[in-house]
Every structure is written in C-alpha cells, then in structure tokens.
C-alpha cells in the first residue's frame, strides 16, 4: 500500500491546503514535514506517479481526489484516536496528539468505523477539529471566538485554534477543557484582555491573544 512516509506527506499537503490562498510549493512542504527540499522533490515525483498529487510550477502541489480521500482517512483516524486517548485513557489534552500521530497509520478496514462507534460517534476531536465521517464529510467548524462573546454572556469551549503545547498546558492549568463553561465578566478596552469566570467559581483575566485562540459556542 502506501508507506508511513507517504501518508505523512499527504497529510502535510492537506494541512497546507487548508490554510488556503497560497500555492503549495516544495519548500512549504519541506518545512511542514521537517525535511530537506531535495527530498520533497523526490517524493513529489513518487506521489505524482501514484496519482495521489499533481504538480506543476504554476499551480503548485494539489491533492488529487484519490490523495484527498487518503489524507482524510488518516485525519479521521488521528482524530478518533485522540478522542479515545483523552476520554478513555485519561490522557491530557497536550499529549494526545503525539500518540495519535502514531496510531493514525494503523490500518484495518473496519477499524475507524468500529472505533467511531465505540466512542459514540464524536463529531470533534479534543482540539475541537471536526472528525471526517467515513464518507468523507466534515462537520462544520465552529467559529465564534471567545473574544467575540458579549459581556455577561456564558459560552462553552468547543475547540482551540492554537494547538501549541504551551497554550494547551496553560489551558490545563486553568482547568479549561472542551465543554467547559466560560462567562465573560468584563472586557478591558485598553489591551483587549478580558475578565472571565471559568466553570463555577474561578475568575481570572486572560489576554486578547488567549481570547482569540479559543473557539466557543
């Protein structure tokens, strides 16, 4: 089938394609997979031969339908395993990703479907990213930022925009999880920071940067 390496390239191309607008260049891919540009050229040839991507200088790299489907499958696996690790094994938000990075490549026909069923058909992973359905459908992304919530209103955390470890650990420290209720108590016009209540009791002030990295409903 396809090697682990090939799959990681496909994922990288998919990820780059999400940040729409820019053409996907060999250099961008090289950066994304932390590899030398020369290696990327080789892989582009290989994946092109397999009809998983197309490439020309004008349009850059694009996933073919076949390649897109494959990438989605892997992402589906990844996100389902993340849910498993968090909910069933009790891993914290910030470690889940690296383990799922390995688990996503495990293959067996029914595995993703069975896992999905076992987990109760979750729609979002612990980072709030939508989990592709087996038919390739993607649940719509929730996109209200915490910073857009009016003073006095309460909302619920649905996703994170920033998935860096520092951020996730900060959230952990604040006991903020998917589903956590947050009430906006005050907005400081001066620097965009906001005063919030997390859960029942805890009150704190967070920066504008923070408020723009949390997605809520």
């Amino acid at each position: 089938m396809h090697s682990l390496t090939e799959e990681n390239y496909l994922k990288a191309v998919y990820r780059l394609a999400q940040k729409a607008g820019t053409k996907i260049t060999p250099t961008a891919i090289a950066e994304e997979v932390s590899v030398n540009a020369a290696s990327v050229i080789d892989m582009i040839k290989k994946l092109s031969e397999k009809k998983l991507i197309s490439y020309d200088k004008v349009n850059g790299v694009k996933l073919t339908d076949k390649g897109n489907k494959l990438a989605l499958d892997i992402i589906r696996n990844h996100r389902l395993w993340e849910v498993f690790l968090l909910e069933k094994l009790g891993y914290s938000w910030d470690v889940v990703h690296e383990i799922a990075e390995q688990l996503e490549h495990i293959k067996h026909d029914e595995l993703a479907d069975r896992l999905e069923k076992f987990l109760g058909f979750p729609e979002y992973d612990p980072h709030g990213d939508p989990i592709p359905k087996s038919n390739g459908e993607l649940p719509a992304l929730v996109n209200t930022l915490l910073s857009e919530i009016e003073v006095g209103k309460t909302c619920r955390v649905s996703a994170v925009k920033d998935t860096s470890t520092v951020f996730l650990q900060y959230l952990l420290q604040l006991s903020v999880n998917i589903g956590t209720k947050i009430k906006v108590l005050d907005k400081i016009a001066y620097d965009g920071s906001i005063f919030i209540q997390i859960g029942k009791d805890f009150k704190t002030t967070v920066s504008q940067k923070f408020a723009e990295s949390l997605l809520v409903t």
Copy 2:
C-alpha cells in the same frame, strides 16, 4: 530507539525461546520472521552490537536481559491491544491478532499501563496467553487440555494452544469463546475424539486434535 523491524526480530527470538529445548539458530529465526537467512545474520550482528541478544555457534541466539525486557514489553502491548479490540471494538477472535501486530509497536511511556487499567487489568489475552505485568511478571499459564477432562465433568475454556485462523474460525462457528462452558459427555476410545456439550444446548463431536488444542480450567 529501536526500529519496528528490530522489535519483530526480538519477538521472534522470544517466541522461539518459549518452545524450549532447541538452540535458536539463524535459520530458525529466518523461518520465524519469513526472511532470508542472510538478512538474519545481518540483524544478529546489529542486535548483538546493541546488546539485545548474544550469539555464538555453540549456544545459538539468546536474548540478553535488556532484550528480554524489550520483547516482554512488546508482547504486553500486543496482548493488551488484543483484549481491547475484542472486548471494546467487538472484533472477532481471529482478526484481533493482525491488528495488534501493528498496535504493539506504538510507543509512549504510560500507554500500556493506562490501557491495562482501562481494560480492568486483564490477566489473559483472547487467545488465553498471559499478559505480562509492567514489572515483567507473567501470570501462570493454565494448562489442562480439554482432552484431559473426565467424562461427565464440565470445564471452562481459558485459552487456545493453536492460534491458526482455521482453528479460530472453527471455534467461532461452534460459538466457543474464552469463558464458554464445555461438558464432556463421552470419549471415543477408538480415535480419541470426544462428544461434548457446548454452552447450554449444543452437542457435537470433536476430534482428538481439537481436544488437545483447547486449554480449560
């Protein structure tokens, strides 16, 4: 760390060491991992350098303490994942192994321990093989054969000695699982076959070969 390939060699050596008595030769390993003998020689050199095995013509290949520990870890992973796949994802007995073959190589400090806890500290995998504890301890193997049960007695399936797909599928067909009750109704002296009752109602005759492949308590 250690590559997937190296890990599979270690497992193979461990497996061969179980079938005690015989010296572990390069050829035996070649057969076990389905690879050319020349390749085995290369790997023996590599693993020897890493102090995971020792090798000389007189004693054959032996796992060092370090190698043994590693092999046990992998087997622990394998068997825990098998339990997961069977009990949580509802896979049948005969497919569980091939998926676990991939899952066993996933690494993360606490993964096996968390999985073990999640599964309720199972002692045996779906094939009845003991699951190594995190300290390397192995629960004792149950070793009464169905063929050794007296006429009139009832016993409970605890493991299989034969893990071939044909056998496992035959068991599936007979609705025999770990935990299934079997009553020995009669023994045919002529060819060693026995007449048994599986569960509440179903009665059938099975061969001596069959009766010597099922472990019970």
